[in-house]
């Protein structure tokens, strides 16, 4: 149905795509697999009309086509849901969904009522229980993603490209998404599905195309290959997967949280944490699993002093009670937070790698009030070396690094504060398989050095891969706690599913 032949694309002398071939069939979920930088996103941007300047041919229903802009691609029936959300925060859900294709009355006035109604239907179909008039900035990343999907569904596109649609949404929502994808497949639409999560692909995809270094490596049917085959094709070699952790007997108390309560009430954001009590020992990795809205992120934020006004409870670090009014207090107490959204909250993208690493510890690289470039270089070199950050130089801007390396920079800037407790919120979101493994190894190594680590994740395999102990959140309370030896996908999920639904 949609065929791309010998597509090549250069960016200032660098070959992003080299004679790539792709065939997309109706009624199938076509997976595009490859590491970050393999050329997936570039190829999708060509198919959806973002890049008009490329070599090669594209055929839709057998006719040669060339889109000059995204609008033409949309009109031809190709919709794309970008990995980077493209919603306008100040507009409401309805306004975003109908942006550029507003419904009007005879005289050009907006037909608010009809748009609102259709939005409500779309949201219901996606099981997102929100008021269509809610401004998008009030939504969490996961909910915004669902709105993006609703936006694409509205166009009745023939080809729907989904670029990492599940990178930010909870397993519960993934289930809903898969049901929708299944419906679309039955309606004989063509779905192009890009994801790093191989487990997902085996659940949902019919056929695959693997890209590596801008070239097509192989295409085929999903059944008949296994995970190891795919990984080998993606990276061109075997990848060692981090081994299963054990429930060690950790003895030294590090962190004790007693009866933490939190209440954030807003128009659409209503988060509540009730009587959260837990402990963390030195050298332990505590995995926290929960669905969207379970309060996992807010729990970490409270431990980092971000909700001082809305929370109550007692926090002890190594037996001493501490008061956290703001992030500075938390940093002083030896707590570090690697936030969920590294581009928004983790990095200053316009600053270079070494400036980002030193940002938390500028007072330590000062001599008589003057920043020492020498000390800063030593600091940056240390972490670039220790964490294996791949960057052309320490003066490279943070925005030019790949996702995995950006995450390592964020971790570096926190390790520089010599924390005792490291809080990680979705540490591998949007990072490719290879880089994920490196992050896992890093986390495990840090724990071995005696750090206490709390990792929040919405990916069960990740929780199971490196945690020593698992705590499950649901609707703001702890519903289960188990050592890793007893943790199974089934019992974790069971505890995570909200009772009130």
């Amino acid at each position: 149905m949609l065929v791309a032949k010998n597509i090549s694309k250069n960016f200032g002398g660098i070959k992003a795509l080299e004679r790539v071939n792709l065939e997309i069939d109706r009624g199938k979920v076509n997976a595009i697999i490859g590491e970050n930088g393999a050329g997936k996103s570039t190829l999708m941007k060509i198919l959806s009309g973002v890049y008009a300047d490329y070599e090669g041919d594209i055929f839709l229903h057998g006719n040669a086509i060339r889109f000059l802009n995204p609008r033409q691609a949309q009109e031809a029936g190709i919709a794309i849901i970008h990995q980077e959300l493209s919603l306008i925060p100040q507009l409401t859900i309805t306004e975003n969904i109908f942006l550029g294709r507003e419904l009007t009355h005879y005289f050009g006035g907006l037909n608010q009522k009809e748009m609102r109604l259709q939005t409500k239907k779309l949201l219901q179909r996606l099981k997102l229980d929100l008021n269509p008039d809610t401004p998008v900035y009030r939504l969490k990343v996961g909910q915004q993603q669902v709105v993006e999907i609703a936006k694409a569904l509205l166009t009745n596109a023939e080809v729907i490209i989904m670029d990492e649609p599940t990178s930010a949404i909870s397993d519960h929502e993934v289930e809903i998404l898969f049901r929708i994808i299944d419906d679309l497949r039955k309606e004989n639409k063509a779905i192009v599905y890009i994801s790093h999560k191989l487990n997902e692909l085996f659940k949902i995809a019919d056929c695959y195309t693997v890209l590596r270094d801008g070239k097509t490596i192989e295409s085929g049917e999903m059944h008949g290959v296994n995970k190891e085959d795919i990984i080998r094709k993606m990276v061109g070699r075997n990848v060692e997967i981090v081994g299963n952790p054990i429930a060690n007997n950790f003895t030294d108390d590090l962190l004790l949280v007693k009866d933490l309560n939190l209440k954030i009430s807003g128009i659409s954001k209503n988060v509540k944490l009730s009587d959260i009590s837990l402990h963390l020992k030195k050298g332990e990795i505590l995995g926290i699993f929960g669905l969207m809205g379970a309060g996992r992120t807010e729990f970490l934020e409270s431990l980092f002093g971000m909700h001082a006004k809305d929370s109550t409870g007692d926090i002890f670090v190594e037996g001493t009670q501490i008061t956290l009014k703001n992030p500075s207090d938390a940093i002083r107490a030896g707590i570090a937070l690697v936030p969920e959204d590294r581009k928004k909250d983790g990095l200053v993208l316009g600053l270079n790698v070494k400036n980002n690493i030193s940002l938390t510890v500028l007072d330590q690289i000062e001599t008589a009030g003057i920043l020492s470039e020498k000390k800063e270089n030593i600091l940056a070199d240390k972490y670039i070396g220790e964490l294996g950050i791949k960057t052309s130089s320490k003066k490279q801007l943070a925005k030019n690094l790949s996702g995995g390396n950006q995450q390592k920079v964020v971790i570096s800037k926190w390790l520089a504060t010599h924390p005792r407790i490291l809080l990680l919120d979705e540490p591998t979101r949007g990072i490719d398989v290879n880089a994920k493994n490196e992050i896992y190894k890093l986390i495990t190594a840090l724990a071995k050095k005696g750090l206490g680590i709390i990792m929040v994740s919405s990916e069960l395999p990740e929780i199971l891969a490196i945690s020593n102990r698992v705590v499950v959140f649901a609707e703001g309370v702890i519903t289960a706690e188990m050592p890793i030896s007893e943790a199974k996908e089934e019992n974790i999920l069971q505890a995570a599913i909200p009772r009130s639904v």
Binding site: A330, V348, G350, L371
Partner: protein
Amino acid sequence: MLVKFQSLLALVLLCFLLGVMTDIFFTYANLINVMRQISVNICISVGMTLVILTGGIDLSVGSLLALSGAITAGLLKFGLELPFIDTFIGFTLFGAIMAGIITGTSLGAFNGLMITRFRVPPFVATLAMLTIGRGLTMLYTKGFPISGLGPQFSYLGTGWFLGIPIPVWISLIVVAIAVFITNKTRLGRYIYAIGGNESAAALSGINIKKIKTMVYAIAGALAAVGGIIVTSRLDSAQPNAGNSYELDAIAAVVIGGTSLSGGKGTIGGTVLGAIIIGVLNNGLVLLNVSPFWQQVIKGVVILLAIIIDKYNSKSNG
């Protein structure tokens, strides 16, 4: 790079053209004159650069310039009378100047407090201060100039040292300190971090409110320095001094390549921007261009600067 290559090229080209078209552009007297004329704008623009680097804007600098100048002049000439307790305080030259700078600094800090504690957008907070400052100046001077401030004070605006006017020295010192702060101190790094990504900066434990308040206070202090130079040069504090100076300062910052959304830009670029505006003004006067056309041309140059800047950043990224 300290300054943008194309801005430098534009300046060289402009100077070359003026050198060909007029006889007096490349004379010592004229070049020194240009430098003296832009020294006030450089002081204000440096403060403006710091503010814009944090992602803010300061519209009040022209008014703060007038108020600080008037306070310095008034205290120097009349001293301070406190009728309720029947006291009179006389001011030395140094005391009067300090009082002017303290006035600028505290009202700048007030801007910062409004912006950080009460979350008033910088544009609005400083717009309010623009009229408050102007009003206070009118109240203090009763609408009349305060003149005849003595030879000691006017040395600051009209004197020379090593063949260079004192105001140029002052602006050079201000630039040197600002370059040092932006490149070599924690404050400077925090300013770039806040402008680049406020949320990430806050999560890194940086006290955003404190840094921003400091930056607006610095902008106010530098406006006061400008006010003292202007007052001293004219030997008179004019109630309407510094009118629309904020626009020249913003123009210098923008031509110098600093991003209005914050996080990107240099003091060096701003200095170059101020020089380009100064040379342009001077050249248009030398060429006998009507003042009305001068304004139009200045506007066109600002637009061109932005367009070239956007075009460059696009082709680089």
